[in-house]
Symmetry: C2
Subunit: 252 residues, 2 copies
């Protein structure tokens, strides 16, 4: 499997030294407070592609931050097929939706080799009692998730295939940009199948739209490598009032 050498990356980086800390932690925490948080974080071995972080129904114990790689969460439909509910990129936090049921309502699986910071929830709650800012941060995270899910519902109920894929690409671009990477050229961590599953489209439709976008000069795609050639038009296709869109355009 791993005949290639691993990307060189220390497996234990303290929060205060982590390049993602400004994205995943509340800004108001002092260095001292961060060290306290740091102490409760568990950093496991890297997950290989296909390995699970947790399974649907597992007891809810922790929330997780992605350090590198990519995670998808999914649940099983009645017919036993998988329905992907979210993709998580580095600096993003997952697992919060299990909080009120004491079990994870979805499974979480690595889409590529992935490093994770695990934050035991009971300790996080204890810490939250002392740092109101940490608590507000978590509530903001959940509030944000709710808004994002509602954007997704809008996409699923009102947008056609072209608009869905344009929206998805713009959204990914915006998330890469936020982490300091290029928003015009990046690598998709998911297959066409997974993309279609997430967007409520058949694989074939995803493929056709990609081909059409490429013919029209909107994107240039080779396999999982994507280059956004016409961000303005792609954004206008994606529609939406999200500030993301303007940021992408402005960075073009």
């Amino acid at each position: 499997m791993t005949s290639k050498p691993n990307v060189r990356q220390p497996s234990h980086v303290a929060c205060r030294d982590c390049s993602l800390s400004s994205l995943c932690l509340p800004l108001a925490l002092s260095l001292q407070d961060i060290d306290q948080l740091d102490r409760i974080i568990k950093r496991g071995r890297p997950l290989k592609k296909g390995e699970h972080l947790f399974l649907e129904g597992d007891p809810f114990t922790s929330v997780f931050a992605v350090r590198s790689g990519a995670i998808k969460t999914y649940t099983a439909t009645n017919e036993g097929e998988e329905q992907i509910t979210s993709f998580y990129l580095p600096s993003e936090i997952l697992g919060l939706s299990g909080m009120d049921t004491d079990v994870y309502p979805v499974s979480a699986q690595a889409m590529e080799t992935t490093m994770i910071c695990e934050i035991p929830f009971d300790q996080l709650e204890t810490l939250s009692d002392r740092f109101p800012e940490l608590r507000r941060h978590m509530m903001r995270l959940m509030s944000k998730k709710i808004r994002e899910d509602q954007q997704m519902m809008m996409l699923l109920s009102k947008k056609n295939a072209d608009e869905r894929i344009a929206t998805f690409l713009i959204n990914l671009a915006s998330r890469f940009r936020r982490r300091g990477f290029s928003s015009q050229s990046f690598r998709l961590s998911m297959s066409r199948n997974e993309m279609g599953n997430y967007l409520g489209l058949a694989v074939e439709t995803v493929s056709r739209v990609f081909t059409r976008f490429q013919k029209n000069g909107l994107i240039y795609a080779v396999g999982k490598e994507i280059e956004i050639r016409d961000p303005v038009q792609l954004c206008s296709l994606a529609g939406g009032k999200s500030v993301d869109l303007e940021q992408i355009i402005s960075s073009a």
Copy 2:
């Protein structure tokens, strides 16, 4: 405007005397604690059908509990149409999704005459500092909302018209049941149009499915009055693993 006498209902009922308190408040709060919460709650005049509780973009100041009536939240699509994001029935809490943006991301409108308890958020946060249980309750609420939204995403991306409407009816029934009302016979507070909008279907499709369900003896519907005739089959159509379904069946 108000030629009709108002529905007789005291406009100021303390939380400890409210029949919905066991649904909307954390159980662990003592009577004394509840009285503290009670003191910060603002109870305004009833909203008439069509009146807004808040508008998309309004500054986020409060969360709200529905005491009676029904509220819908919606946002505007790019083309300026309305996209309904949720329906709220008595005892349910809305407004939490505005927390991380400082403005409400949706508009909230009364679908019928509605009474509301308003909870100023800054005071709620202050109170939360003292009562960890209250805080956890709010986080659980948000966590639950996330799970519900993900069920909705599943509905929108995988279910056909029949399944969507069956799911919707079963879900409503379950919510009525939870409040002690009949889960087999109730009144829809939304129009066919609003239902279709929410479920990602055209009005005509909703109407056709209702007609078909009625022909097949699944439901009996006259206008907004609904009777569920065959809960077992309706549940099986709705699919899903939700415990709601079993509860409805068992109460049939």
